[in-house]
């Protein structure tokens, strides 16, 4: 948290992003987003537009995307709102990256349930691949952060990489996922435990067993 800081507004940054503008497709999307809010309340659209902008920046430089100051200014201008209010929003939410980031943003959950289920091993696996907390690898492929609970405790330990979650991890899974991503392949998302689909109980259901294959009326048994 406290490590977050805005990328300084340097002439180089201005030169790179000063001419930022929506692509034709995103311009259309931005229009749709703004139209969701009543006239005069267009600044409500700041969060989706920042997300869109982050994705466009990501697409342009083939990273997860981040928000350079000129891009925030562009959004502020479009929504006719003071730039400081946009910066407030962008700095508040951690899913907006406010400094350059790698191709894959590896966010390992280190909160209690994940820790109990072995997130330390996951972190060790990442470290073994050369990832360093708060840093991007030299090839620009992976940025690594340890985050707090992402709400996937039933399938802990988990990691979020860009828009996808990878759950029920082992150190080997983690290594494999990183390797596949580096090789340009899309690993299986969601749970990595064999035989598990979502977050159903491991080893089969222990309650409501009669309902697994067909509907069953339990009321008479109470």
């Amino acid at each position: 948290m406290a490590d977050r800081h805005i990328e300084p507004d340097t002439p180089t940054l201005r030169a790179r992003w000063g001419s930022f503008a929506w692509t034709a497709e995103n311009a259309e999307k931005a229009k749709t987003i703004i139209a969701r809010y009543p006239a005069g309340r267009q600044r409500s659209a700041v969060m989706p537009l920042l997300d869109l902008a982050q994705r466009q920046v990501g697409a342009e430089e083939n990273t997860q995307g981040w928000l350079p100051i000129p891009v925030m200014e562009y959004v502020a201008k479009q929504l006719d709102m003071p730039i400081i209010r946009v910066v407030e929003v962008a700095t508040f939410y951690t899913m907006y990256n406010i400094a350059p980031i790698g191709r894959f943003h590896v966010q390992v959950c280190g909160t209690t349930p994940c820790m109990l289920r072995g997130s330390d091993d996951i972190i060790a696996a990442c470290k073994a691949k050369g990832l360093k907390k708060g840093h991007t690898t030299e090839d620009g492929l992976f940025s690594f952060t340890e985050v707090e609970c992402m709400g996937n405790c039933a399938s802990a330990p988990m990691v979020q990489i860009n828009d996808d979650n990878y759950e029920d991890l082992t150190a080997a899974d983690m290594t494999r996922i990183l390797d596949e991503l580096a090789a340009g392949k899309q690993p299986k998302t969601g749970t990595q435990a064999p035989g598990r689909h979502t977050v159903e109980p491991l080893g089969g259901p222990t309650t409501l067993t009669a309902m697994v294959s067909a509907n069953h009326d339990y009321r008479s048994e109470w």
């Binding site: 948290m1 406290a2 977050r4 805005i6 003071p82 400081i84 910066v87 407030e88 700095t91 508040f92």
Partner: protein, 669 residues
């Protein structure tokens, strides 16, 4: 009108009041940091917790809780005491214990309230958070580690000043208050955040490490940097004024003060005229008072005298000079230094009749030739309030940034004679229409055309007077009341070719027009007039004399002396009294009391504090037309509008950095 009980005492509070206000009405002190009467409610400091029944069995933030019928509020229970102690302990967790080196010490809300409501001991022995200081310009010194995130500064700049430039970045423990990209706070009211800050996070840069509040003598004064007549408190120690703070007056400045009024302080000790000077062979040489008066006596002008008053002169000085001129047989008095010559026979036509508090209620406003933000920053905040309530604002004149939505009609003053359809529509449907004519408008004949406009759209009714003239000089209304206006303006004085011209701190006059006259300058700063003067008699600045000032509304206010004038300088009236002796005439007063009594006898309104009654507006003269182009406004640099401000290093720096965009390297620490 809900009835409720506070600590067992039943009382009725106005509808819409909060629990905090109810407690205050009951005479209970509620500690607070984020709550401020003039800002929106944030509810984030939690210091104002009280116990309220009915409601959840936990303490409630009273600032954000509406008072309602039948509530039982306790501010003295064990729960409240514990809650306050708890909040205070949390606030102090990350607050540094640097009171001994903090400028807020002695007037710090956190310090006072931790003494009154805190536990007296900390249980916290972890590391404290530290935050890097932010640059906020030449006026605001920041120590952001001290910040308790009350967001008063953020709300002030957004709501009152109308310049969104301060924000709260990041979140939680990492939250930081900062201007955008740590740029300087650029607006004309920026230093008010220093007063608002309940801790020492934002303090005054020029005043840093100067004094402790308990060392200061506090004098009630009136600001003379513009015609608003802001109420100020002059804090002085020994012979020096150390700072100027606003005083609360809801009718005038609420509790704000413009930066240029606040920071003239260091101008008061620089470039001062502290001894008499005489021009000998084209060069000014220091002299004694006796030599100076001999020189004045030698001029021996008889009745060929003219008096020009400056912008910051008090009524007593104006009257003393008038009495002297009268004793000599002259009535050539003028205060409009730049040559304006509007009709001043009816003072109602040259006053801000709506009053500042009243203009907030206007629902259609036409501004003619006034850059209100530069000319009267605290009137602009009122206009902003009006605009927020839905008033339509139109401006005739060059475009400027008003901080609220306004329609700029164009630069042609003639638009006032025949206003566009949108203005007609707005004013015809308006209940409280108003016109504000500024200096640039007066120069184009907007006064008479404005009167015609007032008649056409019924700006004056029994309850409402929407005809306003916004002056820029603190001495203007007082001067007009005392007859400092010739029908032809300054040109009449030039045409009279007086043998002697007395300048009362008149620094804006083009003295080349008075080439044949001896110029006696009674002023306090070595500014423009001193360069042209033949005799300089050093006088007192506004902090160094008692005086009466009349603001542009016609509000008579008294200012008191905080310190004595430096060196050989004397109070203005004593100089004029001594000049009378030197010239061998009698002015009829020997003491300040006699002078004031004589002044009040002549203009009784000056003896009554408050709004002077100027009677009804005159009828608009037939066929009066405003003509010309209002392409610029008189104030070119809103930090350097007067001699004191021009002498102030702080305001020079503000001007260079904020107006002219020069960059200054910060000293490395």
């Amino acid at each position: 009108m809900p009835k409720l009980k506070v600590d067992g005492v039943e009382l009725e509070v106005p509808a819409g009041a909060t629990v905090l206000q109810a407690c205050e009405l009951a005479g209970k002190e509620i500690p607070r940091f984020c709550y401020h009467e003039r800002l929106s409610i944030a509810g984030n400091c939690r210091m104002c917790l009280v116990e309220v029944k009915p409601g959840p069995p936990k303490p409630q933030a009273s600032c954000a809780l509406p008072a309602s019928e039948g509530q039982e509020i306790r501010t003295d229970s064990e729960m409240v005491k514990k809650a306050r102690e708890g909040v205070m302990e949390f606030l102090l967790i990350n607050h540094p214990l640097d009171c001994p080196i903090c400028d807020q010490g002695g007037e710090c809300d956190l310090q006072d309230q931790s003494v009154a409501y805190g536990r007296g001991k900390s249980r916290y022995d972890e590391n404290k958070r530290a935050v890097t200081d932010k640059y906020m310009g030449p006026l605001i010194k920041t120590t952001m580690t001290r910040c308790i995130h009350c967001t008063r500064c953020v709300r002030f700049s957004e709501e009152i000043a109308g310049v969104d430039e301060i924000g709260a970045l990041y979140r939680g423990e990492g939250m930081q208050i900062s201007t955008y990209l740590e740029g300087a706070a650029k607006h004309e009211l920026s230093a008010n955040v220093i007063d608002l800050c309940p801790v020492g996070a934002l303090t005054s840069k020029p005043y840093a490490f100067e004094a402790r509040p308990w060392e200061l003598k506090k004098t009630l004064g009136i600001d003379v940097s513009d015609a608003v007549g802001s109420n100020i408190r002059i804090d002085s120690r020994g012979r020096e004024v150390l700072r100027i703070l606003p005083r609360v007056n809801d009718d005038v400045n609420e509790e704000w003060l413009s930066d240029r009024a606040r920071y003239v302080v260091d101008g008061l000790t620089r470039r001062r005229l502290d001894k008499p000077w005489l021009r000998k062979d084209g060069k000014l040489t220091a002299a004694s008072w006796a030599e100076a008066f001999d020189a004045v006596a030698k001029i021996n002008p008889g009745a060929s005298v003219a008096v020009i008053s400056g912008d910051q002169v008090d009524c007593e000085t104006l009257f003393a000079a008038k009495a002297l001129a009268r004793a000599l047989g002259s009535s050539l008095l003028e205060g409009r230094q730049t040559g304006l010559a509007y009709t001043a026979s009816n003072l109602a036509a040259v006053a801000f009749n709506s009053t500042f508090a009243g203009i907030e209620e206007a629902d259609a406003i036409l501004i003619v030739g006034s850059h209100v933000r530069d000319e009267a920053p605290l009137v602009n905040t009122r206009l902003r309030k009006a605009a927020k309530r839905g008033a339509k604002v139109f401006v005739i004149g060059a475009a400027w940034d008003p901080t609220y939505p306004a329609t700029f009609l164009g630069e042609d003053a003639g638009l006032l004679n025949d206003v566009p359809a949108e203005v007609v529509a707005a004013f015809e449907g308006s209940k409280k229409p108003a016109i504000i004519i500024g200096g640039a408008g007066l120069a184009k004949g907007a006064l008479e055309a404005g009167l015609a406009f007032a008649e056409r759209f019924k700006l004056v009714t029994d309850e409402w007077n929407g005809f306003n003239v916004l002056h820029m000089a603190a001495s203007r209304m007082g001067g007009l009341m005392l007859g400092y206006a010739q029908p032809g303006g300054l040109a009449d004085l030039v045409a009279a070719k007086p043998k002697m011209v007395i300048s009362l701190g008149a620094d804006e006059v083009d003295y080349t027009k008075f080439a044949g006259s001896m110029i006696v300058h009674i002023g306090h700063h070595g500014d423009k007039a001193a360069h042209a003067a033949d005799v300089i008699l050093p006088a007192a600045a506004f902090t160094e004399k008692d005086g009466t000032y009349v603001n542009t509304e016609g509000r008579v206010q008294y200012s008191e002396r905080a310190v004595y004038a430096p060196g050989d300088a004397r109070e203005d009236w004593t100089i004029l009294r001594a000049m009378a002796d030197a010239l061998g005439v009698s002015v009829g007063f020997d003491s300040f009391e006699q002078l004031r009594a004589a002044m009040i006898a002549e203009v009784p309104a000056l003896g009554v504090e408050g709004l002077a009654d100027y009677g009804a507006l005159p009828a608009a003269p037939k066929g009066a037309k405003a003509e010309g182009v209002i392409a610029a406004y008189p104030i070119k640099d809103h930090y350097l509008t007067n001699a004191i401000a021009r002498s102030s290093p702080t305001l020079q720096r503000c001007s260079a950095e904020l107006v002219h965009g020069e960059t200054f390297a910060e000293a490395a620490e």
